[in-house]
Symmetry: C2
Subunit: 217 residues, 2 copies
């Protein structure tokens, strides 16, 4: 499969690198065509890896992964171009984190979400929200954390969610540990997990954790 991964931060490079290892072709997209971080990443990641602008990456990918921060997601996807997203699975892994008055906040929050913003702005993209609930190393290597811990997917398009669940399976997440929460509106719920994740990360002193759901039936 040909993937576009938008964003050259740790999340984008980690996801892109794992997809290349799995045999996929990946273009890491950034605001500028010759972003040195992206170029260096592509050189190290090998033959199936390339670097390009958001637009070049999105044009090359059959699936597009939004791995830029929630605050700049719409701008990055606008630069990628609506035509390059049309009909494609668009995986949003971002969180709406913003640093304000010396503290981390979420924006949008509760009455909206980045997942919904993206789906509204690009109605012909098949947006699936997932992976934002764990650290990027856990995203691509769930075995870092013991137990039957879970991920969530949400989005309007059932076949897009199936395709994303298959990709998560390649990362090591069994399908029974990927919970379908429903439509893209449920992005609100998974984005609002972040404050508790941040508290737990501080309490544990690391990011190698996740939640397992225990149920009576």
């Amino acid at each position: 499969m040909r993937y576009a991964v938008l964003g050259t931060g740790e999340v984008g490079r980690t996801l892109g690198g794992r997809l290349v290892e799995l045999g996929h072709e990946v273009t890491l997209g950034s605001r500028t065509k010759d972003n040195p971080v992206a170029v260096e990443w592509a050189r190290e990641a090998g033959d199936r890896a390339a670097a390009g602008s958001f637009s070049e990456a999105a044009a090359a990918g059959e699936v597009v992964v939004n791995a830029v921060g929630g605050q700049v997601a719409l701008a990055a996807l606008e630069a990628a171009g609506a035509r390059n997203l049309e009909g494609k699975v668009l995986i949003d892994v971002s969180n709406p984190l913003v640093f304000e008055d010396g503290q981390l906040h979420l924006s949008p929050v509760e009455s909206d979400s980045v997942g919904e913003q993206i789906q509204r702005a690009f109605p012909l993209a098949r947006v699936v929200k997932t992976l934002n609930t764990v650290n990027c190393r856990v995203m691509v290597d769930p075995g870092r954390v013991p137990g039957e811990h879970v991920l969530f997917v949400c989005g309007a398009d059932a076949s897009a969610k199936e395709q994303v669940t298959a990709m998560l399976g390649e990362f090591g997440w069994p399908a029974e540990r990927v919970l379908d929460l429903g439509g893209i509106r449920e992005s609100r719920a998974v984005e609002m997990w972040l404050p508790l994740w941040l508290d737990l990360s501080r309490t544990f002193g690391h990011a190698d954790f996740n939640l397992e759901l225990r149920r009576a039936r």
Copy 2:
């Protein structure tokens, strides 16, 4: 111990009933002195159970539990009276749920929380936020759900958190499954868990579940 449980809904009656079973004296407080639900509860719960106004209950209790909804918590506690809360452990189990435009919302959210509102309004009370992350039947009977699932406590007063952790221990929660997240500000994080809890409850079709935290170390 003498407990005041403010609120005659399912949460208040369930918590009050369990505390009576455990040998404590409980006054179930409501807006009106002769609330028939509270009177009937007290009659059924037995000799250690009483019903009264918010103020009578808070005056009688050594520990006060806020089990009214987040939207009416401040009004209930004002009716209980600041003098009746002074120096006491005040356990807030509420969530800021509000039904608006045909949908459930949280208010306050993200930049404030019910836990913080209560602590600000009653600075001499020793507020501990806990239990709001699970259904009330799970609150008092964690064995309904298998596994090492957890609760959270937060609040400014370490000895108040210890005392609450001991009460949770009586309910069946081992101390190692009660995570101290820090100060009362972390009420935001645990209150923001609610949307995901609601999604999961709908997905599972019941409320007998909870999260277990899995970690690498």
